[in-house]
């Protein structure tokens, strides 16, 4: 599989230089959010706001009033936990065209509780006027910049940084989910980094005789409930959601709401963080420890179907070549 180095850095720069109303804002995490090169090459389009996120969000609201479309770069957690009041009053309510670029979603950081955005989808999708997107591969990271900037209002994006696999050939489109497999036994719904895990699991599940239908979400809000329900209705056993997030308020909740409102009686297994914080550690370790990886998905499918597959860790396809991990710099802070 192709690994792409720092896709966001290139995509943002090539887009922003063509759109002078786009501003690059940062709160002391400029290189950590891959916009250090942009800062150095385009200082007139860059604003350093320091470690002061409350001011940054309201300031961005003011820039929106002046006709600019600021892109705010920080770790996801810092864009909504401390400055939630400012997010509501200065950005979401007045529908400012502010683009919140949240890096290190979920357990993609070893930084522990303070750095891990594990409830951001839940928080963001509850906010009126907000659009919520998530990139799942290099192509989506590249295309999310222009797509987010088309939104007539505020948008929050979960962004992947560093070395990112390329899974898709077509760009991310708001409101369009990807149907990655059209099996008939179980519907699997994933987004972000869990899609790669599901790709690993699918091969093994197929060999074990489980026919998987697989949806990849890149738009959490607006959520296409109708389409999810149609896919859920077409499988025999039910649905498994796997998310790099708490199961409360995220994809698991969205699917549950969709099924309930449609009156579709299908079992649902929600995989992700189960009402718990995570701690600091490597991404593979955290995904294994908290049950967010391919093996956890296999076990979730077994729980749903009531049939053991016999699949072990060794059976899982290595969609992502392990050697790639070793040459990638550890997720630095």
């Amino acid at each position: 599989m192709e690994m792409v180095n720092r896709p966001y850095a290139r995509a943002f720069e090539s887009y922003a230089v063509q759109h002078p109303e786009v501003l690059c804002l940062s709160a002391d995490l400029t290189s950590s959010c891959e916009v250090d090169g942009f800062r150095d090459r385009h200082p007139e389009q860059f604003l350093s706001l320091g470690m002061a996120e409350q001011n940054m969000l309201s300031f961005a609201g003011g820039l929106g009033l002046a006709g600019f479309r600021p892109f705010l770069h920080s770790f996801g957690v810092f864009l909504y936990r401390r400055p939630y009041d400012q997010l509501m009053a200065s950005i979401a309510y007045p529908r400012r065209k502010v683009r919140l670029m949240g890096f290190l979603p979920g357990v993609t950081t070893p930084g522990g509780m303070t750095h891990q955005a594990i409830e951001d989808i839940s928080v963001m999708r509850a906010i009126p006027n907000m659009t919520v997107l998530e990139a799942g591969d290099a192509t989506e990271v590249e295309s999310i910049v222009a797509e987010a900037d088309n939104v007539d209002g505020p948008v929050y994006c979960r962004i992947l940084r560093g070395s990112v696999p390329r899974l898709f050939e077509t760009p991310l489109k708001i409101g369009r989910m990807r149907v990655l497999a059209e099996g008939s036994d179980v519907l699997v719904v994933t987004a972000g980094i869990t899609t790669e895990e599901a790709l690993r699991a699918r091969g093994a599940l197929g060999r074990a005789g489980v026919s998987v239908r697989h949806l990849h979400l890149s738009t959490h809000k607006p959520f296409d409930a109708r389409q999810v329900v149609e896919h859920a209705a077409s499988v025999r056993h039910g649905v498994v959601t796997l998310e790099n997030h708490l199961v409360t308020g995220g994809i698991g909740s969205m699917v549950a709401e969709a099924l309930a409102e449609a009156g579709l009686s299908k079992r649902l297994v929600r995989l992700g963080l189960q009402d718990t914080y995570a701690h600091g550690g490597s991404r593979p370790y955290l995904m294994r420890h908290y049950g967010l990886d391919a093996l956890a998905l296999v076990r979730g499918v077994e729980r749903l179907t009531g049939q053991e597959t016999g699949i072990t860790e060794e059976d899982l396809d290595a969609v992502r070549v392990e050697a790639v991990h070793s040459v990638v710099k550890a997720e630095a802070l």
Partner: protein, 309 residues
């Protein structure tokens, strides 16, 4: 529209109108009119370069919040005139001063007196805590401390575009207890945002009572200067002094005028309520009658006829 009346006269009229409204409605933000009447009158009558109002004299009812399905949504900013590069913009950061702001809009001819009849009525846009859609408001500021940051962002953008108009914030001293205020000042200084200025009503009062009993804030002027602002300190009730302070040069920095005010200016009878002045409610008909007569005498008007609503 500007300068037809003396600013001092407008200030007096704001106090009278807020007083009459509060007596009729069994309470109101009386103290804010005492401390800030000259500041509002000064801003609207002299300091700000505003075009004529673009909105109806009687504010239309609440017409929904901003959403993709509400394309006709407008803010209350049109009462301050159209958005144009040469015109100033005003943010009223403590939205609790809305009654004073509405009274001022009436006195400067931007709103009809009947507009105030809708104050705090269900379905009205003339809300008790000024909202985005309330007359004279452009953004929500009911959560205290966000006004200066928003203004700094707008001012940076206007400067970048070469617009001549400035951005002004009416602030309250209680807001210096919020950390965001200091983040905003340091950012405005760091980015040399000097088309931004503020006038702060330093009345030393907040919701729980006197600020020193709630949270001491020390020397506000010294702190603001340390954070990079240019500061001018004046008697809030001296219009000439406000005029001079607003003209303080502040190249490369934001200007903050500290307007030291009395929370009972013009209505000394309210001293009896000290230090609970944030929202004055009457505890009995007797007290209401007493206050009606005493304050009317201070303001040089007849007591409010309680039979007329």
């Amino acid at each position: 529209m500007r300068n037809e009346k003396a600013t001092e006269d407008i200030a007096g009229a704001i106090r009278r109108r807020v007083f009459e409204h509060s007596i009729r409605n069994n309470g109101g933000y009386l103290s804010q009119a005492c401390s800030a009447a000259e500041q509002f009158a000064f801003l609207y009558n002299e300091a700000l370069n505003l075009g004529p109002s673009t909105r109806p004299m009687v504010p239309p009812p609440f017409s929904g919040v901003p959403s993709a399905s509400n394309p006709d949504y407008v803010t209350g900013a049109g009462y301050n005139g159209p958005f144009a590069p040469e015109y100033d913009r005003l943010f009223i950061a403590p939205a609790h001063y809305a009654l004073v702001a509405y009274a001022c809009l009436i006195e400067v001819g931007r709103m009809a007196p009947e507009g105030l009849e809708q104050f705090n009525r269900d379905g009205s846009s003339v809300e008790m805590i000024g909202a985005e859609h309330s007359p004279g408001m452009e953004v929500h500021n009911g959560t205290l401390g966000i006004g200066l940051s928003t203004a700094a962002g707008l001012a940076w953008g206007r400067k970048w575009k070469g617009e001549a108009g400035k951005v002004c914030v009416f602030m309250s001293d209680g807001e210096v207890q919020e950390g965001q205020t200091w983040e905003a000042v340091q950012a405005a200084a760091f980015h040399r945002i000097d088309n931004l200025w503020a006038i702060m009503d330093v009345n030393r009062q907040q919701c729980d009572g006197a600020m020193d009993s709630v949270m001491e804030v020390g020397d506000i002027a010294a702190k603001l200067r340390q954070f990079g602002a240019v500061v001018a300190e004046v008697d809030a009730h001296d219009v000439g002094a406000l005029r001079e302070a607003a003209a303080t040069p502040h190249e490369g920095r934001p200007l903050i005028v500290l307007a030291h005010s009395s929370p009972t200016q013009g209505m000394e009878f309210l001293r009896r309520r000290f230090p609970r002045l944030h929202y004055v409610r009457f505890k009995s008909d007797e007290e209401r009658r007493e206050m009606n007569e005493a304050i009317a005498a201070e303001l040089g008007v007849a007591p409010v006829n309680m039979g007329v609503h």
